[in-house]
């Protein structure tokens, strides 16, 4: 069974004159256990997609199913939300309790996890997100980046089968972002958790199994990072850019350095450069 299926989904905000169509006959299938990066400019419909997955929004037409359950059927929503966790862009939008551990406990308590297990889940979620030291701190007194980690811990404590990250690492320092993505990657590999990572960091997207690019409510490219980032014109047209290393590689190539196509990471660029500059 597929984790998520969008079938001919259209979605509009507002009605009458102010009606704004965000998704247009949009279809997308996300396989169970996959790690998908969803890219696109601001306003391209990414966050709307995310909210359609766990039934925060219901399609105007078409269907969204999560593990075969239609989000339109209200009786499915509890089960869908239990299985598909979401972390929003701004952590202030999803933090409820005043103390960090209570906030992380809120989700598991809601879905009726036994008390003893809740404690284990909090320990686990705080430890993998590096927020143990804030366990008894006030959420309101944390920095933006610390709050973001706590929000991620709250989602992980639900042990969701699908994790949707909507620009959830935007306020983290580089190492923090790397650590969080490593945790998510490990959960994906070891527990088969399906991950949908909505991001503006092209360097983060390179790590995904699959990249989908959205523009103006439709998918304009889909494939492995190499396949997608090879379409340079399309990337620019969609308001995106190449990963930093790929940009440097392009500049070096146009200045006459014989570098191969398909360099996306700093490691790959470094290997090629060392080879080239050393051997002569």
């Amino acid at each position: 069974m597929q984790a998520i299926e969008f079938k001919n989904v259209s979605f509009s905000y507002g009605d009458g004159d102010s009606r704004k169509e965000v998704l247009k006959d949009f279809s997308l299938t996300i396989k169970k256990g996959s790690f998908v990066a969803l890219l696109g400019r601001n306003g391209s419909g990414k966050s709307t997609c995310a909210k359609l997955i766990n039934g925060l929004l219901i399609p105007t037409s078409g269907t969204v199913t999560v593990f075969g359950m239609d989000t339109k059927d209200k009786s499915n929503l509890f089960e869908i939300r239990k299985r598909a966790g979401m972390v929003f862009q701004n952590p202030d939008n999803q933090q409820i309790a005043s103390i960090v551990e209570d906030d992380v406990a809120f989700g598991p308590e809601n879905i009726g996890v036994p008390r003893k297990e809740i404690k284990e889940r909090i320990d686990y979620a705080l430890s993998v997100t590096g927020t143990e030291e804030f366990r008894h701190s006030e959420v309101a007194r944390l920095s933006g980046g610390q709050k973001q980690r706590v929000a991620i811990a709250g989602a992980i404590a639900l042990l969701p089968e699908i994790l949707i990250l909507d620009e959830s690492t935007s306020m983290l320092d580089p190492k923090g972002r790397k650590e969080v993505m490593e945790v998510v990657r490990t959960l994906n590999r070891e527990k088969g958790m399906t991950v949908i990572d909505i991001t503006h960091y092209m360097d983060e997207a390179v790590e995904a199994d699959e990249i989908c690019i959205m523009d103006n409510g439709v998918i304009t490219a889909q494939g492995t990072p190499n396949q997608v980032f090879a379409q340079k014109e399309l990337i620019a047209k969609c308001g995106l850019e190449l990963p930093v290393s790929a940009k440097i590689a392009e500049k070096l190539k146009s200045a006459g350095l014989p570098l191969p196509e398909g360099i996306l990471t700093k490691e790959a660029l470094s290997d090629k450069l060392c080879e080239l500059l050393r051997k002569i």
């Binding site: 701190s137 006030e138 935007s170 320092d173 700093k266 470094s270 060392c274």
Partner: protein, 290 residues
């Protein structure tokens, strides 16, 4: 206006068990006419520091002067100058678009102007609003739109315009490009540079987590850690300390990583870590050995 902090310290919730030492002796000078980057791990004190700059957080310990205003001086004379301070130091918070509230773009931007220039005429107000929106790359067609109907990047520009319209000398922005798409990011950073180069503002201070972006855009950088400034200088001076930068949870721009890896192979290039300089130096090296 120059900003000079000496041993600036601040503790949140001093008398409770939730006590947090956010600043533990910050010593830092920010010169006029600079595009200044403040970087540091999450919780290192960056946001607490910048909130001191326009008096949102009072000086608790140490000293801080902004231009000729000594913020450590708690006398009434200085208190009276807070309004002046706030007109000189414009503050753009994280996700500033959450603060948009008016029905139209015009009203939202005009709000700040009316607060700081209560005696200005309607004509002056209109001129200031149109000019400021134009500086932020927003044409007259946006004037009567609801800010809520704009894209993320446009909303943020409106929010920044709302601060810029008060004509600050120093513009402080806390993670101004967080959540923007790559094109929006580049355009906004370019706009900030143009504001500085054209003298619209005299100093731009940005808090950022993106080393590549800091390196490409900033003239000077201060690195915060545990409430102190641990490294400062030009991007070149700061990013050459790749080992320290990695220990500080920040790392270096991609160009810094490449320079280090090449150095391990005996290939030494002297770069200022901007991409253009890196490309130029590598091409030069390649041509020389060929």
């Amino acid at each position: 206006m120059r900003i000079v902090a000496e041993n600036l310290s601040f503790t949140y919730n001093k008398k409770s068990k939730f006590k947090v030492d956010a600043l533990a002796g910050v010593t830092l000078t920010i010169e006029e006419d600079s595009f200044f980057g403040i970087i540091g791990h999450t919780g290192s004190g960056k946001s607490t520091f910048i909130q001191h700059l326009n008096g949102l957080i009072p000086v608790e310990k140490g000293s801080l002067t902004v231009g000729d205003i000594n913020l450590a001086d708690k006398s009434k004379i200085v208190k009276k100058r807070y309004k002046e301070l706030r007109s000189k130091v414009g503050m753009v918070f994280q996700y500033p678009e959450y603060q948009l509230f008016a029905e139209t773009v015009y009203e939202d931007v005009a709000f700040g102007f009316r607060n700081f220039f209560p005696d200005a005429s309607k004509e002056e107000e209109k001129k200031a609003v149109f000019q400021t929106l134009a500086l932020m790359g927003l044409g007259a067609e946006y004037i009567n739109q609801s800010p809520l109907d704009l894209s993320g990047g446009q909303k943020r520009r409106v929010a920044i315009a709302g601060v810029l319209v008060t004509k600050p000398e120093i513009l402080v922005l806390d993670e101004p490009v967080a959540g923007l798409d790559p094109v929006g990011k580049n355009e906004l950073m370019k706009t900030l540079r143009v504001l500085l180069d054209n003298g619209v503002v005299k100093t731009v201070i940005v808090v950022s987590h993106d080393m590549d972006e800091v390196c490409e855009n900033c003239d000077s950088v201060a690195v915060f850690s545990e409430g102190r400034v641990v490294l400062s200088g030009s991007p070149k001076e700061v990013f050459k300390n790749s080992k320290e930068m990695s220990e500080l949870r920040l790392g270096v721009p991609v160009t810094g990583y490449l320079k280090d890896e090449l150095s391990k192979m005996g290939v030494e290039i002297d770069v200022d870590f901007t991409r253009d300089d890196f490309v130029e130096k590598v091409v030069e090296y390649y041509k020389n050995i060929k």
